[in-house]
């Protein structure tokens, strides 16, 4: 009898164990690991709001494969150690995938945790090229939704050649930053490959140093090159603003189109250019614009504004797209197994998001359209979608 009882007990135990294993969770958990406080919370907070919006929408539409999505939210306060700790907690919480971080440094720290635990992570806006890498090879578990910085050089070269019908370009850039150097090189290569010509002023790029404030001598020499259609300035607003202002004062450069990367997008650009009146015929590339007329984008803008109380930024758009790409991958994989979801995400092709149509390249960087915004009297007046 005793023996029988013990057998029964063991069987029950085993059965209960089996039941526990086969019980699938009622919800799909997705972790957020973002900078919600601290110096870069301006990046993390809109991403959280957008992720929340995406989750509310998908749940209202019946969830994914019949299951509701649940967010598990942790703040990393722009601290890499905290970000790693959060990632480990999220793994213990049994999330299917993680979203984060908004900036590159914490995302770089999360990479090894994602790889080790085989949990997919997607950063909406970490633009450092190394984020999706594990040494020299791609980190199979890390993806991003934003294009990386040098990619803008390519898009802008196409924009200059196709949309502005520019045949001759002059390239200026700071020789003190990788951002500028990569952009200048890629712009020049692509513009030449398209059939355009890059005019030479002391080398193929007219370099200057970060500390420079007087560009008049350089710009006067550039003006003396004669007719060219576009001036590409590979830099941030701190110098781009000054260059725009000073160029507009030089005969021959009053109206030339000046184009540049997302570094132009700064509230100080107009001030540094000596007033909004100087900022005309200026274009810059970015991830997202509220000026886009696409209905999908407009719906997103309306819903986001209603939920968050402010218009979405590029960061919100990228986080929103990241979430929907995850939803699509979970749906395609028809599973909550992180490895299967990862495989499905990697195979994403032509995903129609609010920040563009997205596919991934071999390094998990999206191949997507960029937005080029036109500035007239210092205001954003037009947004043009440019395909790579």
């Amino acid at each position: 009898m005793k023996k029988l009882l013990s057998i029964l007990a063991i069987t029950l135990l085993a059965l209960s164990g089996l039941t526990a294993c086969s019980t699938t969770p009622k919800t799909i958990k997705i972790g957020l690991n973002l900078e919600l406080t601290g110096e870069v919370s301006v990046y993390g907070v809109p991403e959280k709001l957008a992720a929340q919006l995406a989750v509310d929408e998908i749940n209202a539409a019946g969830g994914i494969n019949g299951k509701d999505v649940e967010l598990v939210i942790y703040d990393n306060a722009y601290d890499s150690a905290k970000a790693v700790e959060n990632a480990q907690k999220l793994v213990e919480d049994g999330v299917v995938a993680m979203l984060g971080s908004a900036t590159s440094a914490p995302t770089l720290a999360i990479g090894p945790v994602a790889l080790e635990n085989q949990v997919l992570t997607i950063t909406p806006s970490g633009s450092n090229a190394k984020v999706t890498m594990n040494g020299d090879v791609v980190n199979p578990y890390v993806f991003r939704a934003c294009f990386i910085d040098p990619f803008q050089g390519l898009v802008l070269a196409n924009f200059a050649y196709d949309n502005l019908s520019a045949k001759k370009a002059v390239v200026m850039g700071s020789n003190s930053s990788d951002y500028a150097k990569d952009l200048a090189k890629i712009f020049g290569d692509q513009f030449t490959a398209n059939g355009g010509e890059v005019l030479q002023v002391g080398g193929d790029v007219s370099w200057y140093a970060d500390a420079d404030t007087d560009f008049s001598a350089q710009l006067t020499s550039i003006a003396a090159l004669g007719d060219f259609d576009v001036l590409f300035v590979a830099d941030y607003a701190a110098r781009a603003g000054l260059i725009i202002g000073q160029a507009r004062a030089i005969p021959g450069l009053e109206n030339v189109a000046i184009i540049g990367p997302d570094g132009f997008e700064s509230p100080s650009l107009n001030d540094l250019a000596g007033g909004a009146a100087n900022v005309n015929n200026v274009y810059f590339s970015t991830h997202f614009s509220t000026l886009l007329t696409d209905t999908k984008v407009q719906t997103f803008i309306d819903n986001y504004t209603a939920a968050a109380g402010e218009a979405p930024s590029a960061l919100s758009a990228l986080a929103y797209d990241s979430m929907y790409m995850l939803f699509a991958a979970i749906k395609t994989a028809n599973s909550t197994d992180p490895v299967k979801v990862r495989d499905a995400l990697e195979a994403t092709t032509a995903f129609a998001g609010v920040s563009g149509t997205i596919s991934f390249d071999e390094f998990h960087n999206p191949i997507k359209s960029a937005i080029v915004v036109k500035l007239t009297d210092g205001l954003q007046t037009e947004a043009i979608v440019v395909n790579p």
């Binding site: 370099w207 500390a211 007087d214 000596g274």
Partner: protein, 292 residues
Amino acid sequence: MSQFLQQVINGLSIGSVYALIALGYTMVYGIIKLINFAHGDIFMFGTYVGMLSITVLHLPFPIAFIVAMAVTALLGVIIERVAYKPLRKSTKTAALITAIGVSFLIQNSVLAVMGANIDAFPQVIENRYYDFLGVRVNLIQMIIFFTSISLMFILQFIVRKTKLGRAMRSVAVDKDASALMGVNVDNTITITFAIGSALAAAAGIMVGLYYIKVYPFMGFAPGLKAFVAAVFGGIGIIPGAMIGGFSIGLIETMVAGYGSTLYKDAVVYGILILILLVKPSGLLGKNVKEKV
């Protein structure tokens, strides 16, 4: 040709800025033989005071200009009394090192208060362009040019024709003898610092108007260039600062315009080394043998 003339205008504009800063350098050196390395930072401080007077206190531009000069002159006096006066009897190296210390102190204090952001100087003067002979000159360039020329004449007048100027010159020659003749040496030196610092503030506001960008480290590079300009023209000689400033501005612009922007600083500092080797007293300097 018109490109060359335009480059000359560009060179004279930046040269005026160097000249304005160099005037303050050269004056202080002329009187107490101290290279005031904090001068570039006093210039930066003056720009901030001018900017805040306009943006925060909403003062009209001419009043903001005077306020900035007055406040900066006061800073100059405080620096002189606190940092340099106790060292007047020490070696020149001690004073020089203190000047570098003061430079970092001002830089980092402004950094702590204002943050590392780049601010934009309010554009209170509407810029206009004048085209002639295929060359374009703008209003602010002209204002800077004429301000630096007139300040040079005013300074020259003060030093050469007034009682204060006579006191300054006598202190420059021999402090002890001057004191015996009834010159208040301390006050003379203090006033020299006040004037030098007020000039730096004037230069700072000009730079703010012209280049717009204001940040805590903005004094470093122009301060060094102005020092080169002062040495070039003959340090301690007021018209020399002017000539040095214009020369450095023109050289720099020509290198940037016809060579590469990246070499302009190397050329300017190369010139400094050449001058120190060939004619250490500068263009206008006389070789005065020191009596032993």
